[in-house]
Subunit: 293 residues, 4 copies
């Protein structure tokens, strides 16, 4: 019995950092006062200039990604998104093209001078994915898939970590700490709405989380304006609010033909709608006009 008590005491000693957790988390402001700037090739995330990640929910085929990439690059978008491994509620829904999808995404991004981001769902795929894409996304359903977080912490690629469906801000920060504690501090946090009783929107955008995350942590924060509301009709005001509140960037789902999209058909913008929102954000001063435009 004495041994067990002792064992516990030793662990409690080991737990000491937890008591003063906020002070000691690697991702906290207390640990590092200045903002982390995540470097994606020559692109900087979190350097004070707001930016937009865009692209379709799912990578579907070469033509689709080429059409979307061509359009987005003309709009000054530097990071192209597209899902190759899709976590879907039903096993009978489209599950993504897998590694083939990663290749299509990479090729489209390269062709149009962009970087790529895509969700990885299995720990053993993280290293492989690093060969193809520039930012590895960990999705909302996997925010507390700690094995995946540890794998993401073991590579040297930027990680885009989405907040879980009903994660507290504290749990979200601790999920980021799993990655950082393994040595990878190139992390972008993403607020994407939380689950509440209100069904007028797909999720409830927790806009207050953005300044709290910026205050508690030195990591850049982006807002996924597509998943957080699931409504195109309020996307422009929501995008403005996200930038006004201090987000470093936005994620906007965009498809060349949303009506035939294999997933999330209702919430993806088509290309003219995307350009329209970008123009409005530039005209109202929320996004800077690209140099030379």
């Amino acid at each position: 019995e004495q041994v067990r008590v002792l064992f516990k005491q030793i662990f409690q000693a080991g737990d000491a950092p937890k008591a003063t957790e906020k002070k000691s988390l690697l991702i906290s402001r207390k640990h590092q006062a200045e903002d982390t700037v995540v470097r994606v090739g020559d692109f900087q995330v979190g350097n004070g200039t707001p930016f937009v990640i865009a692209g379709p929910c799912s990578v579907e085929n070469v033509e689709q990604m080429d059409a979307v990439g061509a359009h987005l690059s003309k709009e000054g978008i530097k990071i192209l998104r597209g899902g190759a491994y899709k976590p879907r509620t039903s096993p009978y829904d489209f599950q993504g093209l897998g590694v083939e999808g990663l290749k299509i995404l990479r090729d489209a991004a390269k062709k149009h001078g962009m970087y790529s981001v895509s969700e990885i769902v299995a720990p053993e795929d993280v290293e492989m994915a690093c060969e193809y894409i520039d930012i590895i996304q960990i999705g909302a359903r996997n925010m507390q898939n700690f094995e995946l977080l540890k794998a993401a912490g073991s590579v040297r690629k930027p990680i885009l970590l989405k907040r879980g469906l009903s994660a507290t801000i504290e749990e979200f920060l601790n999920a980021a700490e799993y990655i950082a504690s393994r040595g990878n501090s190139q992390i972008i946090l993403c607020e994407r709405g939380i689950r509440t009783y209100e069904k007028a929107t797909r999720n409830t955008l927790d806009i207050s989380a953005v300044p709290i995350l910026k205050q508690e942590s030195h990591l850049p924060v982006v807002v996924d304006v597509s998943h957080s509301t699931g409504r195109k009709d309020i996307m422009f005001p929501i995008a403005k609010a996200a930038l006004a509140v201090g987000a470093d960037g936005l994620i906007i789902e965009t498809h060349n033909n949303p009506a035939v999209a294999l997933s999330d058909a209702n919430q993806q913008l088509d290309l003219p709608q995307f350009s329209n929102i970008m123009n409005n954000l530039r005209e109202s001063g929320y996004l800077s006009v690209p140099v030379g435009v």
Copy 2:
């Protein structure tokens, strides 16, 4: 039996408007396309110029309201708030000064060239309150106190209607309809945060509700940035987000000495903090600089 079925059919016929509810609600865009501008004396709410309602949580005494009113009027604030009837969770908490509080509020507002808003909690007090104050507030806990809504619909004073703690947007609009259906269409809707699992903030500001309300209804919408987060430290970014998303105005709790406030001591700004936020909102273009300043 046949009679009862017939009775039901008659009522169902009477229910017909409900089936096509959105079309027929008096407060809906379908009923009235142009924005309602609520007139408070010579002040206009919802005319496109963002504004701020400010003042303490509770009216405590003459000196307090005079000090706050003097400061706020210099900042260009036109509507002074202060609670005289306080709905408090515990019966042993400070319940407000009642009609005496309304008089103190009225005097302070008049002295400093402002209008007044205060919460009324009993249907039979609505008419009486009209003699003292310029806008009658119905609080979150009373959003579905239908007797109070009906009383508010029967007078000819502007009503500030707060969203219930966990009201859906649809329920909120229907609560406004209770007022409008009695003949009073001078209604200001107020988003003040909803109750969710997240406890980093007092409530979760449902920022998406603002553009949805503006889209569904022609009524002006304000955001209570004090109650929605309960945190002073993120009030400036939240105020910017609320205005960026399209709110017509803000409510900011302000006290001349928050440390000794009789309620909500932690979330009220002191007067210099209030001026600081106002300056920041003006400098960043979210509020217009008052003429002659």
Copy 3:
């Protein structure tokens, strides 16, 4: 300034009971260890014998209440419910028959040797209602309508207080304290489901609230199995769970012809369904068989 600080200090002194709130609440176990038994005429609520309150959502007419009362009294039901003042989301929905409904309810109850319970929504109606009905219900939407609570505290009739849509247990207990603090300790608490993200049920029955309420307070607790789930198909197991967890009684909405009910048509049992559930609850030992049956 010194005066204000002093004023605050005086109030803080007055707040002292709040700090040690649980100890001092009149409705708490700390204040009174033994169970409160609420007396409704010669019927006892909370004496250890589980009971059922039943009747339609709304009082619609004499024939309906007579048919329901006749059936329920044969099943040994002692308390007949029926809404005369209906708090409805839309102002265009059936609002109840008012005092005429109270009279119909009273007459049906008397004729069949039962007591009556009905919701009152306006503070000024509480005294009037005492002339007609035996238990005054305060509904979920009015749980923090403190004026109504105070009115209920001022009469000497038993009060059935429903938990608010998203009230915490602590807020619920404090709402009961509003009533008790005015001198009326004949209070029955009612768990009726809370609002959550899950939409498979109308509300989420918070079954854990029952033993917590019984532990924290000496008041009897009933479970409204109709509103908490809104589903007839799981009513029997839910009724068993409510009694197993320690509820003193159940509320079951029952109508002689649910298909033509003016409100909540989908969740009300018809009379044979009601008898069926009662039989099942008796056979499985959750309800005692009435003497002489």
Copy 4:
């Protein structure tokens, strides 16, 4: 373009089962009317006799598991639980003993004539774990870790699937379908509370989910009475409610010395408390008395 539309149409054809989802889910009552009985060696889960899974939150060492196993087997418990891979919010909390823990659990279970259940968190560990333990648990945080679900579907061991922190019943059933669709239909569903605004309990036990799950699916359902409330003081009534509502079994966390437990110290019963609850459940008829006792 035509090709893309065609591609979409083909996928939509492939989506057809989804439209009629409930009919076609392998785990649904529509697919299989009779109850699935999960076989764990010679023990049957879901055969109509309620049972209890018990054991500590975490496997800590040989002595602990031996002490707990010895006690529980005397109480007639057939399934011993214990966590070897612990998903913890913070990376600095005790993470479990890993495969060493599985071996300790296996040895304790064997020694005392019991079967074992333990959570596995990485897809690649599922096969390995089958060598040591009898039931593989998938935890709440991993309910939509679809790679893990697929791995669990590929082995021939019973799976204990816990509902996600804020999963809907529909998402929960679809998660089970991921397992079943890979060929493993030996699945036990576990309701363990959902995340709501109410903080009086660790989670809110969604008791209504049990009869709904039993109605929608043929799989056995158990209730984790430790995690759903996080409170020992209401565990006995909650256990009764869970069995009364139709659960096939319970999970109760039990530790030989909760005060020094490496995780969840507050919610684990000690051995005498466990025996006390078992006695009470037997005496009140919720659990059957073991043959020969």
